[in-house]
């Protein structure tokens, strides 16, 4: 088991902006159609990947929701996602990769759109769990990238 694990490099990072209002939905969002969900997922992951590739989180932050911006700085993101850079867990292939699986989109109790699924590229398995506000700006990101055994 240990030798098997040694072949894998996994990196999981979750950053969720805390919702201030728990009882009533903070947003009144409708679920976007499948095509729009697909665009949201891929563009968000590509922006995240660009940030990791360049160690520059300013644009990812600029494109995220106000709630996310109020809780995280570019420096905090640099620290949080360090393992993606040091392990070179980059996945531009997500631009065109097929979904390995995906859950049905839901609006959670805080009114946020939640998109969850898995991509498989030639080198990586990329699990994502993304949350968006009603303007489809990112509220939270959780990405687990695992290098496949060669």
């Amino acid at each position: 088991m240990k030798s098997f694990r040694a072949n894998l490099v996994t990196c999981v990072v979750a950053l969720f902006a805390l919702a201030i209002a728990w009882v009533l939905p903070a947003f009144a969002a409708d679920i976007p159609d499948d095509d729009s969900q697909d665009v949201l997922i891929r563009t968000t992951l590509l922006t995240f990947n660009d940030a990791n590739m360049t160690n520059n989180y300013a644009i990812m932050l600029a494109r995220s929701s106000k709630q996310f911006q109020s809780q995280f700085t570019a420096d905090k993101l640099t620290t949080a996602f360090e393992k993606f850079r040091t392990n070179k867990l980059f996945f531009e292939e997500v631009a065109t990769a097929d979904y390995d699986s995906s859950e049905k989109a839901v609006i959670d109790k805080e009114g946020a759109l939640v998109l969850v699924g898995v991509f498989k590229t030639d080198d990586l398995q990329v699990k994502y769990n993304l949350r968006f506000d009603d303007a489809w700006k990112m509220l939270g990101i959780n990405v687990d990238a695992t290098k496949k055994k060669q």
Partner: protein, 152 residues
């Protein structure tokens, strides 16, 4: 004709890094396969789109070839692509859009040239991208994007 034109918003910007070696390739390079070309095109246009929507070209610059970086600054880029930024031209749909047409990929000296057109619900997006090999990776050496709002 004028009224038709008034319905269209076109933004065309081209930034070309001068290629110093144009006669003979300094080393042999292969054209990437169709899948890799597709990734290069969409990823490049998404990085470009992020830059326009945020008004911050630092990530685009960092991902570009050293030849491009030697000639342009993030500030120059911001000025060159102001029409995209100012008009909030969002090309995000390109990531999943079908190609309307494209030319066969070719090498121009050491540069890989990828040219084509996407059509989304809102835009016709013509692109002409050139890439140079830097440390075994294709990196942007020039970008020319023409985004025209389609009539509804």
């Amino acid at each position: 004709m004028k009224s038709i034109r008034a319905c269209l918003a076109t933004a065309i910007v081209a930034l070309f890094a001068v290629t110093f070696v144009s006669l003979a390739p300094a080393f042999a390079v292969d054209i990437p396969d169709d899948d890799d070309q597709d990734i290069l095109i969409r990823a490049t246009l998404m990085t470009f789109n992020d830059a326009n929507l945020s008004g911050n070209y630092s990530v685009f610059m960092a991902k570009a070839s050293k030849e491009f970086q030697a000639q342009f600054t993030a500030e120059k880029m911001a000025s060159a692509f102001e029409s995209f930024s100012k008009n909030k031209v969002d090309l995000g749909d390109v990531v999943t859009a079908d190609y309307d047409s494209y030319e066969k990929a070719r090498l121009d000296g050491n540069a890989l040239v990828l040219v084509g057109v996407f059509k989304t619900d809102d835009f016709e997006v013509k692109y002409n991208l050139r890439f140079l090999r830097n440390e075994d990776v294709w990196k942007v050496s020039s970008i020319n994007v023409d985004a025209t709002k389609t009539k509804h």
